[in-house]
């Protein structure tokens, strides 16, 4: 090996930076209906191609086509669309509430509404979802009170988790919504354990977990896939690839060399890759994985391909690291627009109904805000300071008793 050139370090770069023209020409996108639907009992080895293709149902004209069409009735689709509209209206209101100083923090899921809403509707409420901080649609699709979400965001006296958590770190056990942690990736492996517990007990519940593209780099991602595969846990492992982890494009999580879905192959897991802005495709893929888990055939890894339309959080300014209009050029469009177009196409929806639904969602959010803000926004109202010392343990030990007395509560 004489005369080899000096080594060089590669640092990945996204396809566009601020001021650049958005460029998604590198994406390989299958046409709607083009990808086969393997039988649910297909061996992982026989469906490896699925990790490199993209399941899509809705075409550019709003037709639902191909083997993955879940053939939903119009009522179900309308419910899904309304839940997505409501999720977006909620996000807009709470983002504004932050700007008005009513809370310290918020995170929107703009562009990703189809994921949590569709999956939340497919799964049973008794199943346990292990979400990240960007699956608020799960709660909204299941009818969790919007005012309770706001109470948590405002840390007010009616906050269900008693003012102990950063806004949006909801916890709603009765709605199959696991307590959110700030530590990324941790819930992915816990979901596998929950599913193992259900299997151990001979129960019929399954678990579902979500992780972002960036957090797949965490070691818990690897552990989750290993345990899910080894113990054939009844769990759906969702990677929401929205292209961005704060300012890092998904290439920094290893997404430039391969798809995130393909990572399942090495673990012997069946793997799907789906258009995340296509409500029907997300629904169908989830249903496939659900049936597999529910029939004791084990876990499925799903990469859900989408784009983070909004800033990472209220503390983030994406114009400093990506083209300002990149979202508008996202080739998979907007999930609300696409389902709306389909429903109109099949004669089950109209622009008038859509406008009315949007107004109704805004009104629903406004009513909830009125209810929540009557209790108080951040700093105006809060749970008793006693709550600071409660539930560290089932019963406080002497230190907590003494410290609580020291605070005088």
């Amino acid at each position: 090996m004489k005369n080899t050139p000096p080594l060089s370090l590669r640092v990945p770069e996204p396809s566009g930076r601020p001021g650049d023209k958005p460029d998604f020409s590198h994406l390989k996108l299958d046409a709607a209906g083009a990808v086969d639907r393997p039988a649910v009992d297909t061996t992982p080895a026989d469906m490896r191609d699925m990790a490199f293709s993209l399941i899509r149902v809705l075409d550019d004209e709003g037709n639902a086509v191909g083997p993955w069409n879940p053939r939903l009735d119009a009522d179900t689709m309308r419910r899904g669309l309304k839940a997505m509209i409501l999720t977006r209206a909620f996000d807009d209101r709470m983002h504004r509430a932050h700007r008005q100083g009513k809370t310290s923090f918020y995170m929107k899921c703009t562009g990703e509404e189809a994921i949590a809403v569709a999956q939340g509707m497919v799964l049973n409420r008794e199943d346990m979802g292990f979400p990240t901080y960007r699956q608020q649609g799960l709660l909204i699709a299941r009818g969790y009170p919007l005012a309770s979400m706001m109470n948590q965001i405002y840390s007010n006296a009616a906050d269900p988790i008693k003012g102990r958590q950063l806004p949006i770190m909801y916890s709603a056990k009765d709605y199959g919504f696991f307590t959110i942690s700030g530590n990324l990736g941790t819930q992915f492996v816990q979901a596998v354990g929950w599913a193992m517990g259900s299997a151990y007990k001979g129960d019929n519940k399954i678990a579902a977990a979500w992780i972002g593209d960036g957090s797949t780099a965490e070691s818990d991602f690897h552990s989750a896939l290993t345990f899910a595969s080894v113990y054939k846990a009844p769990v759906i492992l969702n990677i929401v690839n929205n292209q961005w982890a704060i300012s890092s494009f998904q290439g920094f999580a290893g997404g430039q060399e391969t798809t995130f879905a393909s990572k399942g192959i090495g673990y012997g897991l069946p793997t799907l890759r789906v258009d995340g802005n296509d409500f029907l495709a997300v629904w169908a893929a989830t249903e496939w994985a659900e049936e597999r888990a529910r029939t004791n055939q084990g876990a499925t890894l799903i990469e859900i391909f989408t784009y983070r339309g909004a800033p990472h959080s209220t503390s983030d300014d994406p114009s400093r690291y990506r083209p300002g209009d990149e979202h508008e050029h996202w080739p998979l469009g907007d999930p609300l627009e696409r389902l709306k177009q389909h429903l109109i196409k099949i004669g089950e929806w109209s622009q008038e109904q859509h406008t009315a639904a949007e107004a109704e969602a805004v009104e629903q959010v406004r009513a909830a805000a009125k209810e929540s803000e009557a209790i108080g926004t951040l700093g105006q109202s809060r749970p008793s300071v006693k709550e600071m010392f409660e539930e560290v343990f089932a019963e406080p030990d002497w230190r907590l008793v003494e410290q609580r007395r020291e605070v005088g509560v």
């Binding site: 988790i161 916890s171 816990q190 354990g193 151990y200 818990d220 089932a394 230190r399």
Partner: protein, 366 residues
Amino acid sequence: MAEINDKIEADMVDQKDAPASVAPASGIAPMNMIQALNSALDNKMAEDASVLSYGEDTGYFGGVFRVTDHLQKKHGLTRSFDAPISETGIVGTAIGMATYGLRPVVEIQFADYIYPAYDQIVSEAAKMRYRSGGQFTCPMVIRSPYGGGIFGGQTHSQSPESLFTHIAGLKVVIPSNPYDAKGLLISSIEDEDPVIFFEPKRLYNGPFDGWHEKPVSPWKAQELAQVPAEKYNVPIGKARVMREGNDVTILAYGTMVWVALAGAEHAGVDAEVIDLRTLVPLDIETIEASVKKTGRCVVVHEAPKTSGFGGELSALVQERCFYHLEAPVTRVTGWDTPYPHAFEWEYFPGPQRVADALKSVMTGGR
């Protein structure tokens, strides 16, 4: 680790005939600490279908220290099984199981290897009840052999208890004898909160007082090795006074309880030796009453000195017993170095160092 295990096994020749870990089926009989822990798991698994055990090599093989021996055979493949070599996976899945409603007891093969699971323990298990407003709870036990005195070198000797006592929401339990080991493990499994259960591997097969050149005696000869085969509890949060005395209080746990007793005897000082048994919650009443009686306090632990649990104990004694103290609270601990191999007995805080500290506090301290 076979060589370390063999060395420990060699200390208990009289028990070679039976599998090391299988305890007598009924009545009160001598058990070593391994058998006592095995018996606790066996009792709880027989009684409660929500109790299950897993970890690296803990299933078919029964654990590298035999604590889970025969449990798979007796209770079934899904009750006691083997896990991938992933501490974060083991603890993370156990958290999931506990929030589902089970009571997993997982093993981390050596406390030195608990760090990959630290995020799951600190950020998740410890905070589960608090952050969810009580909606999700985490009744699980993480068992792990810990401590030195076995030529385990850097990564088979550590005592990381202070990394867990510092974390709100965790209980930390460390037994020093077979009777307590069983009763405390049962109480830990029944506890509604996550428990870190450190087992002093130096004590698995016999008490060890730190006089390393003398032959080691088996547990059999000890009163605290008379263990009921049936289920019983030793309460979490209660210390045990191992030796009553009037001159000085020694606070110790794990292997150091036996070293403290030997050190007191060597110094000829009438020391009150307290085995803390649980570090969180701590039995502050017993500590306070003893130090107020003796007026002196020596804290002994294997872990390094700086920011070790001894610092917390000294501060508490100073805060609560200041006007009763006749000498500075003194700490006898491991040094602020990684745990060395060749210098085992210079590092390990043995009875001579304890005796020196006792003599020092009896003459007013440094």
